[in-house]
Symmetry: C2
Subunit: 248 residues, 2 copies
């Protein structure tokens, strides 16, 4: 047997504020020890957003007529709806108090990822503007240059429970394309494109509860899944709407 994959939650981080050095906080939670090149440091997007200042005081949001109308229809706060619309390229569904949005990044998720849990009352946190760039920066700042995955929890079609997905990554083959490989009968494997970065995010989530203040998890022993180059990141996991059989 080859060496196992390991998944370890780092100690809770202190509350993260805009301008904080997230790499320094993650490193301290790792006792200052360098990471290994085949580790992936998986961080909840929320601490990335907070460190980058992607936090909004809802009292400062100017509400458009469209947001006000939608807010009334969905029985949501108008300021929150405005913030959701600001992050939205296209509304996929609007029902039962929930907006399913395609964000400017191309992610399809509830409320465009705008979230009020784990933030101060009256504030909301938005998704990082460019999560792959955030992952590259964090990677460059971490000793040992581990892969980095920025994770979020997205609802999904047809299944209960949120899936953990990579919204940003660096140094990891986000998608493993095994098309062209053959099975033991010599038959070509079809449709075998594996969402590796999402698998890493999911593995990490097994080791922390959302309420635990443990936003950073180290997945070790990733072998060939990691790459020396930062690579194209998690944006490669976004399926263009016109290729989408499942979501259409």
């Amino acid at each position: 047997m080859t060496a196992p994959l390991t998944v370890r939650a780092l100690r809770p981080l202190p509350e993260v504020a805009p301008g904080d050095d997230l790499a320094a906080l993650v490193l301290a939670a790792h006792d200052g020890a360098p990471f290994r090149a085949d580790d992936a440091v998986v961080v909840s997007h929320k601490v990335v957003s907070k460190a980058e200042g992607a936090l909004v005081d809802l009292a400062t949001v100017e509400v458009s007529a469209r947001a006000a109308e939608l807010a009334a229809e969905l029985e949501k706060e108008p300021e929150l709806v405005q913030l959701i619309l600001d992050g939205t390229r296209e509304i996929v569904r609007a029902r039962r108090g929930v907006l399913i949005c395609r964000t400017h990044h191309g992610f399809v998720c509830a409320n465009a990822g705008v979230d009020r849990s784990n933030v101060e009352d009256g504030w909301a946190v938005t998704l990082p503007a460019d999560p792959d760039a955030s992952a590259r920066r964090l990677r460059a700042a971490l000793p040992g240059r581990p892969a980095v995955v920025i994770a979020d929890s997205f609802g999904r079609a047809w299944r209960h429970g949120q899936a953990e997905v990579a919204i940003g990554c660096a140094g990891l083959r986000a998608v493993a394309d095994e098309r062209g490989a053959t099975d033991r009968h010599g038959r070509e494997l079809k449709a075998t494109v594996i969402a590796t970065a999402d698998h890493v995010a999911s593995a990490a989530d097994l080791m922390r509860g959302k309420a635990s203040g443990q936003p950073a998890v180290v997945v070790g022993g990733l072998g060939d899944h990691v790459t020396a180059e930062d690579g194209p990141g998690a944006s490669t996991l976004v399926r263009p709407a016109d290729e989408d059989l499942f979501g259409a």
Copy 2:
């Protein structure tokens, strides 16, 4: 830090045939050693289907008029389409050579899970009839009574790459419901229902390629995710169509 989660692929299994004792094969690949109670043995559904005889010689399939018509439209083999329809409660989409089906179990996946890779030419493998029951049987037969997850790879809406999902499980909290828990600001965590069994399946998939003949993976150190009771299984992950905002 608590003990890490570990993920280990077992040695390749021999080719599995109908009537084979899958538990004995998995145990042999684990060197006969008992499992731990907080292990989950994750097996690809395909070996479960094969052991249970869920294999069909396409030459024996009688093709209905509807299957013939759909096959012509999608440019697929009529016998294969018939087999897909046999496993389907509802066709969700039919396009570009692909049928997205809701199976009798309630899973939404391509071709109702009917698959020709890793099987003999001219044959196809179907999903186990009751994957939670299969998981319970396998669990009962494995020394140490680990949790068991039966995994498959499903395409999904909006994202490239297949997600690994649990189609059956026993001894694992398939869904972790953290609603009612509070964050560090005392704010209730909303919509925090975590698809734990799918996370376990995803973690396992990081340690094996589809072509490697390593269908069994042990995820160790699952702590509170495992349960002494078999529990309701992965059927709890199926979201009824009328509650489904994402898939509608």
